[in-house]
Symmetry: C2
Subunit: 250 residues, 2 copies
């Protein structure tokens, strides 16, 4: 399984991904699900993947090698002129992989299962965040819905629903992303460390943070510990129910 | 969708269920998923259901009408001599419904989808909590794993994983159950009010609380409001990351 969350904020973009891949409980491996194409001063493009690992790896490889356009020119995420075109290119890569393996996967009742979060900025254009589906179609994050999740999304969603909004600062986005990931790590053993964290400040055209977070990362451990304590204290501090008030009234 | 959680605690049992049923987003109804068989001083048996509503309603009706044993005697949840036998009876009802509709449901690619949580105590016997699956087989809660969830379980699981244990008092179980339900209500619109709440004190042989919680329930609204504030404050109180420390180390 996988868990990735991407946030589009007024001050920039935060992406967090785990790195656990499993094909059955006895076949667990570590694969990076965060991919970065960066030309400082010119573009930052970040892609996170969930779903069948062979599909997502092939999609990423196609995006690195380049995809031929209808007029014969080959495009990569380092050459596309806009993030909208980048999302189309990722969609085209997904459809190309589908044409290669979709039928064979269906024949084995496995289905064609991949989803991706693409975010970034190209010089002279705006910062944008997209979620791309198995059919290559995609949606874009907005001020009202500033985050996307892929993979094992549910355990980590409540904190995003409650606290995150477009005006959350980047440090807040990092905190929420790490809490959301921690909730998922605790409740699903098929999501695991190390994590990858990317933080981008709007219009900087280079990444501020691109970091692998391992077991021994002090900040992540501090966050996990304090968050766990805070939840426990919040539960303890809630008022006790008034038994008489609630007794036996159906 | 549905969300139900049942807890087996040293001091008793807490059960919470929602009441929303949907067959598509434009066909949403309210159905009680909490069923109680109570003979004060003699037995308390509580059953919560999730999955296909027609299946779970038929299972509950069979349990009320009675199921014929191999020797011809008809048993109901008011006549079974033990909770273990009660779990077997529920399993038998599930299998009976499967023999009636399983094939037809499969033919429509719907599958036979039902899961149940059964808890209670019969005079002279211990308090027990079971989860029953679509095949009629079941598992029992233990001191190490004192809760079961059915339906839309993931949003409400982190608080259970973090805070609940066998020695949590009944009022604590109520608080955790309502928080867990609130997290699910917020993140999934197909889970909805009113809720049903049952609280049983071990060896009392009658329910202490058997209550429907509606929009205007003051205690639930207080819990929701305080919990939301506490989470937000906990997030604000977390230390800010040290940007220099985390910068660009992959």
């Amino acid at each position: 399984m996988t868990y990735c969350v991407g946030m589009l904020l007024s001050s920039g973009m935060v992406m967090v991904s785990d790195s656990r891949t499993n094909a059955g409980m006895d076949h667990i491996s570590t694969f990076r699900k965060m991919h970065v194409w960066e030309q400082p001063g010119e573009r930052v493009v970040t892609l996170m993947t969930a779903g069948n690992l062979s599909i997502s790896q092939t999609v990423v490889n196609l995006l690195k090698e380049g995809i031929a356009d209808s007029d014969g020119t080959t495009e990569t995420l380092l050459t596309v002129p806009s993030m909208f075109r980048a999302a189309q290119l990722v969609g085209a890569a997904v459809r190309q992989v589908h044409s290669m393996y979709g039928e064979a996967l269906e024949a084995e009742s496995r289905g064609f299962n991949v989803s991706l979060i693409l975010g970034g900025q190209i010089a002279g254009r705006g910062l944008r965040l997209f979620q791309i589906y198995s059919a290559g179609n995609f949606i874009e994050a907005t001020v009202e819905t500033p985050f996307f999740q892929i993979g094992e999304t549910k355990y980590g969603k409540p904190i995003l629903d409650r606290v995150l909004n477009f005006d959350t600062p980047l440090t807040g986005g990092m905190k929420i992303g790490l809490i959301s990931m921690d909730s998922t790590l605790r409740s699903n053993t098929s999501v695991g460390l190390p994590l990858n964290l990317v933080v981008y400040e709007r219009d900087k055209l280079e990444l501020t943070i691109n970091r692998t977070i391992r077991e021994d990362e002090p900040y992540f451990n501090t966050i996990r510990h304090l968050w766990s304590n805070a939840l426990h204290n919040a539960y303890v501090d809630l008022p006790e129910p008034d038994w008489r008030q609630t007794a036996l009234q159906v």
